[in-house]
């Protein structure tokens, strides 16, 4: 199209839209400016002047425009401006300087967004339900929901019931029965409390500053966590934050550290791997490297027996729902409680297994929610000792000839050495059921009965919450030994044999695994090719500009407090691209970088989630940490440990887009196989942001504009809604449903594959000695040691009973032969621990999502298995055994104190028979922190159970946590705090 016509059309379109849409007319009144389009190589152009919402425009050049959009030549300009716009062309033009924007950054961003709004203002969101009610959709950390809005307020939220228009559901035919999932989305409690989290009194609604913080004078660092806050304007907040960023950047590379939680509200755009990383890549910051904290034992241990590094050492799962229902006779749930922390599509499938008469065994010190719902045999080992139990199973299998000898001979290495160890030929100790009984407390007869049942029946091993790893026993001092034992048990029973595999029906539903829609780990618009899986698909499919930080400094997250207070922290990488990636040490300070003196905290409840969290409390008051920003939705325990607080809004107040449980490639590939249906949802902006809160994206954009980075951050004024459209266009979704229909309806159900074309069953290829055929692009081609597609990622290509790769690192806690070593905290060995007789389990709660939803004002607080209201405060609930309760005179709902040398916390007791005596189970579910006295040095009433857990590494050469056998004492709470920390020497 001719350039002069194109340019003439822009102000014309603006005038028309201002007439048709009052919102657009209002927008035009926000700024007065002169914007000019021009060519670089000739004096041709057009200017548009906005004043008080009125538009004037002329062809030709203006003498003093506020902003100029300069095209290299006519051809480029015409291509850039002619609809429909090709984003690859536009990105190419921008990053190769074919088009440049000159002038004040914020004005340029606003003007470009105003032009983009010409199109998006015509998009109609949501479904009219009559009576002034509009139905929108959203996504939560456990599934998509409908959001009903009336008069700008959320009326209700519900799970989604599918209609006949939605894609059909799959069927599985097993043993004469047909199973078809219920046509809906199911959600967990932390989704159903979302409305209360939007309107809670606990929302941060305005920017704030600590009253005794003066950036130009006395900062009173020692008062963080104690002083009150005063409301300030966004202008003042942005001014302080941007000046502090500039000040810290002048100190040197790495002076700013950024810390985010492991999770965020659901959504691809708002996720920390997207909006957050894009911004900080432009600033250059010290990253806190996360340990693989739900995968510890699998990552540091199991991986060495069978590879699967890109699954952090966990097994495949394709096809296992169908195989299990058709073939299996027994499911062993080992530290496996899927009902606790996920939605309930898997529950429906497990109920089918029960209907089919598949037997179930649950191994967990606590008779967990899944066990309580399904029934079956409950076996309760002493926490940490499960590996001894597992070795005794091996002993029975070997001595009674109950393992898959053909598989062991053909597909594994090192079995003879393993067998010799189990039989006691190497160390003189036979790993018999009686031997394990002394360690685990599980009767030897139960081990023999289970070993025989397992060895003679086709068995699925559901290890960890997902059945294919994650959570539970793998994170603890014995977690590495346990996860390694799980792989060994799987191998001895012929991994991939029909009916013999990993899983608990939580993963592996027969869905379409080829339909492309990105998950959040694919980085969305981050442009980050280093720290997300962006490069796998997203970068090609959604053209956007790469961002890369020039700062290389990184700190192992577990020891961030030590980095600040002691100036040193070393760890090992979480690098899933190869098995040996985890052998790389890294640390702080890094060569050529400077010490951290500013922290930007994103989310505010790490006192509830980080081990030995009193360290974190004390860190905030360390003099070297000169400035702390906290950007959060809610006022949580950690929030007041900042100097400036920025109010973020919830995902109901901004745009986003996502698929249910799709975290994406490079993280948990095809995680959506947990669901019975693939459901992609637009996350409609249902209401305006409350108070002065803003979306994370808009906060970062506002700071970026102060640093002349707004146009770079937003790619020339791209709004969140525009990004949603670009994600939509980049995915296979755009081939199936129009954008306008998706905007209205808000969700799409991806049809499952026909039965004839379903993904093959996990590990069957390996069992049968074929090339790998499941639809995951792992291992990387370069990491096949026996030819591409052949065998496992191990040096031998086989399952290795003696892990050869562990010979390449000298870690005393991870010998190549997985021998049983009691590494748990032990009062008999360590006199310092003698006064603490009870073991603490600190699992995730089934009610909040980690700690999200535990805020004051959340409806979750009234769940009496979560918190109990007493004396004006909701106390977190700890589960304690009847025997331990009786010995201390504790009754149901009594306030109790749990403590050790690291911490002291008051909770409410739930006395139960579902727990092995000697064990206390208290979830790491607290978003609150309420120290009675000096922060970091007194008893907490908020419920931060992680105050008690150690910060020592899971193995000597690793970066992993080891909670879940922590020794503590317990008493009825007296109301008087006499506790003092015993500080461990560095």
């Amino acid at each position: 199209m001719n350039l002069s016509v194109l340019l003439w059309g822009i102000p014309q379109a603006m005038r028309v839209m201002a007439k048709l849409y009052p919102e657009y007319a209002t927008r035009l009144k926000q700024k007065d400016l002169v914007a000019q389009f021009r060519l670089h190589d000739e004096p041709t152009g057009r200017w548009i002047a906005l004043a008080g919402g009125k538009i004037r425009s002329r062809a030709g050049l203006h003498a003093s425009p506020d902003i100029t959009i300069r095209f290299k030549n006519r051809e480029i300009a015409e291509r850039f401006l002619t609809p429909p716009f090709d984003m690859l062309e536009r990105i190419d033009a921008a990053k190769n300087f074919k088009v440049v924007i000159e002038g004040q950054d914020a004005l340029a961003v606003w003007f470009m967004a105003t032009l983009a709004r010409l199109e998006s203002i015509t998009w109609k969101a949501g479904t009219d339900m009559g009576d002034g009610v509009t139905r929108y959709t959203n996504g939560t950390n456990s599934g998509p929901i409908f959001v009903y809005v009336k008069d700008g307020k959320i009326l209700r939220t519900t799970p989604i019931d599918f209609s006949d228009e939605d894609a059909p559901s799959w069927e599985i035919h097993a043993r004469g029965k047909t199973f078809k999932p219920t046509r809906r989305t199911t959600v967990a409690s932390h989704a159903m409390c979302q409305k209360s989290l939007v309107y809670t009194k606990n929302r941060i609604l305005h920017p704030m500053k600590r009253v005794d913080f003066d950036p130009d004078g006395e900062r009173n660092i020692q008062n963080r966590g104690k002083s009150k806050f005063v409301r300030i304007s966004w202008d003042e907040a942005l001014d302080i934050v941007s000046k502090e960023i500039k000040r810290a950047k002048a100190v040197g590379p790495g002076a700013i550290a950024v810390a985010n939680g492991s999770h965020h509200q659901w959504g691809n755009l708002g996720h920390y791997l997207s909006a957050f990383n894009r911004f900080w890549n432009l600033i250059g910051v010290t990253k806190l490297v996360h340990n693989p904290d739900s995968w510890e034992g699998w990552y540091w241990g199991a991986m060495h027996h069978w590879g699967n590094s890109l699954r952090l050492g966990c097994p495949e799962f394709y096809g296992t729902v169908e195989d299990c229902l058709k073939e299996a006779e027994l499911i062993v749930f080992w530290s496996s409680d899927p009902d606790a922390t996920y939605g309930f599509d898997g529950t429906e499938r497990r109920e089918w297994a029960k209907q089919l008469g598949i037997k179930m065994v649950h191994i967990d010190p606590y008779m967990n929610h899944t066990a309580a719902h399904l029934g079956g045999k409950w076996i309760s080992p002493k926490p940490g000792t499960d590996a001894a139990f597992a070795q005794a199973l091996c002993h029975v299998w070997i001595t009674e000839d109950l393992y898959d000898k053909k598989f062991v001979a053909e597909r594994t290495t090192g079995f003879d050495e393993w067998k010799a160890y189990i039989l006691g030929e190497t160390d003189g100790v036979a790993k018999t059921p009686e031997w394990q009984e002394k360690e685990t407390g599980v009767p030897a007869r139960d081990v023999r009965a289970l070993a025989r049942e397992w060895g003679t029946k086709k068995t699925y091993l559901g290890a960890g919450g997902w059945g294919v790893g994650l959570g539970g026993a793998n994170r603890g001092p014995m977690g590495v030994q346990w996860a390694r034992m799980m792989t060994i048990l799987g191998a001895m029973q012929g991994l991939g044999r029909p009916g013999s595999n990993f899983g608990n029906l939580q993963f592996g539903a027969p869905l379409d695994f080829n339909f492309y829609f990105p998950g959040y780990a694919e980085g969305s618009f981050s442009g980050d090719l280093q720290y997300s899986a962006n490069s796998a698909n997203n970068y090609q499919r959604m053209p956007h500009i790469v961002t890369m930080s020039s700062v290389r400094q990184a700190i192992p997250r577990i020891w961030f407090p030590e980095a600040i207070t002691q100036g040193k922290a070393m760890g090992y990488l979480t690098d899933v691209s190869s098995v040996q990636g985890q052998f790389f040490p890294f640390g702080y300070p890094s060569p050529g970088h400077v010490r951290v003196e500013m922290l930007y905290k994103y989310g505010s409840a790490s006192f509830g989630t980080m081990v030995d969290s009193n360290r974190w409390v004390r860190m905030y008051q360390h003099e070297s940490l000169k400035f702390v920003v906290n950007q959060s939705v809610w006022w949580e325990g950690e929030t007041p440990y900042a100097d400036v607080i920025l109010p973020a809004c919830t995902v109901f107040e901004r745009w986003d887009i996502s698929e249910w449980y799709n975290v994406g490639a490079g993280y948990v590939h095809h995680m959506y196989s947990m669901n019975n249906h693939r459901v992609i949802s637009l996350q409609h902006k249902a209401i305006e942001p409350l108070g002065e809160s803003k979306s994370d994206y808009d906060i970062f954009l506002a700071i970026a504009e102060k640093l002349d980075l707004g146009a770079v951050y937003s790619e020339g004024g791209t709004t969140e809604l525009d990004w949603c459209k670009r994600v939509f266009d980049s995915s296979d979704l755009s081939k199936k449903i129009s954008w306008r229909e998706f905007m209205r309806k808000g969700y799409y159900v991806v049809p499952p594959d026909p039965e004839s074309a379903r993904a093959p069953t996990a590990n069957r290829w390996f069992y049968e000695g074929r090339k790998k055929d499941v639809p995951e692009p792992y291992p990387l081609p370069s990491d096949y040691n026996r030819g591409y597609g052949n065998g496992l990622q191990t040096p031998s290509g086989k399952f290795e009973f003696i892990a050869q790769t562990l010979k390449r690192i000298d870690d005393p806690d991870r010998p190549p032969l997985n021998k049983y070593m009691p590494l748990y905290e032990d009062g008999k060995q360590d006199p310092q621990l003698a006064e603490f007789p009870l073991q603490l389990l600190s699992p995730h709660s089934r009610y909040p999502f980690h700690v999200m939803g535990d805020d004051e004002g959340s409806t979750l607080l009234d769940i009496r298995e979560h918190r109990i209201f007493k004396d004006g405060h909701y106390y977190l609930v700890a589960r304690i055994s009847r025997e331990d309760a009786a010995a201390r005179g504790i009754g149901d709902d009594d306030l109790i104190r749990l403590w050790n040398h690291r911490g002291s916390v008051v909770l409410a007791a739930q006395v139960t028979d579902r727990l092995r005596p000697g064990v206390v189970s208290a979830p790491t579910a607290s978003a609150q922190y309420r120290p009675i006295g000096e922060p970091g040095k007194s008893t907490d009433l908020g419920g931060c159970v992680n105050l008690l857990n150690p910060s020592k590494a899971i193995t000597k050469k690793s970066h992993g946590i080891r909670p879940n056998t922590t020794l503590i004492q317990m008493e009825k709470w007296t109301g008087v705090d006499t506790w003092k920390p015993v500080l461990e020497s560095a």
Binding site: D339, P443, F869
Partner: protein, 280 residues
């Protein structure tokens, strides 16, 4: 006969995920439904609550959960104490505490034998779950608790009373505390898990001096010589006999397999685990 609303709640299907509990809060907190209900306070009111009952002791334990709410009784004690028609029974069976007329009438809270009516201190109002009448009147065919429940605990039914009686008999339903004579419209399936007890035990035997679980042993439970129930031990030698009334007194257990064993047990309010019985 007029069709009326009923709710069937299956105790065995509930695993205390709390989604129904939260769905009710989501519906009523912050929302006024004139003619039906005033907004529920943000915290402290649980119009649908879940009762918890554990039975047994290690290693044979079960955990049971019973969603409870206003029963919409046909002979509702709250109606009898209400003044000015503050509590009314609709033709479709739903009991509504009028959010205007009931102001100040705390006796409505106290009259409910199920504790299902909450007192809203700020609004001076007795409040209870309205059976989501405002939604049913708009055309919803199920209550929110059912719509949200991932394990299908609830079934909302609009049938005439004769049909409901037939369903109740066919599915062996019961109501909470029938002895009160309130005639609830909320019916429970598998309520024995909340009201009855089980007897559990483990049977072992010695094989060449090694203790083994005794699978397949026959267990007979008798009371005063009369056989009450009979079962077989599982792979782990365990047995569980359910549906024994609370406080039903002394029972005799006799086990037959590769040998014999016997035990006495008394059922009070709890479900006893008789321990390890060795066949000899």
């Amino acid at each position: 006969m007029a069709k009326k609303w009923n709710l069937i709640v299956d105790v065995e299907r509930c695993d205390n995920c709390r989604v129904c509990f939260l769905a009710v809060k989501d519906e009523y907190i912050g929302n006024d439904f004139p003619g039906y209900s005033a907004a529920q306070p943000a915290q402290g009111h649980n119009w649908l609550e879940i009762r918890r009952r554990e039975r047994g002791s290690y290693p044979i334990v079960d955990a049971n959960f019973m969603p409870v709410m206003c029963n919409h009784c046909d002979d509702a004690p709250c109606m009898k104490v209400a003044r000015d028609g503050a509590v009314r029974k609709r033709d479709d069976g739903i009991v509504i505490i009028d959010p205007v007329k009931a102001k100040g009438q705390k006796q409505i809270v106290e009259a409910c034998p199920y504790g299902a009516v909450s007192w809203n201190e700020a609004a001076q109002l007795p409040q209870a779950w309205t059976f989501d009448a405002h939604l049913l009147d708009q055309g919803w065919d199920k209550v929110r608790a059912q719509q949200a429940c991932p394990t299908d605990v609830f079934r909302t039914l609009k049938v005439d009373d004769a049909e409901m009686q037939r369903i109740s008999a066919a599915e062996n339903l019961s109501v909470d505390r029938p002895e009160l004579g309130t005639r609830p419209r909320v019916h429970y399936k598998n309520l024995h898990r909340m009201t009855h007890c089980f007897v559990g035990g483990t049977v072992v035997r010695s094989v060449n001096g090694v203790e083994e679980c005794a699978a397949g042993a026959e267990v007979v439970l008798r009371q005063q010589g009369r056989e009450i129930a009979r079962t077989t031990t599982d792979t782990f030698g365990e047995f569980k006999i359910d549906r024994l009334p609370q406080h039903s007194g002394r029972y005799d257990i006799e086990v037959t397999g590769a040998g014999r064993a016997s035990a006495e047990v008394t059922v009070g309010s709890e479900s006893p685990y008789v321990g390890v019985l060795t066949l000899a």
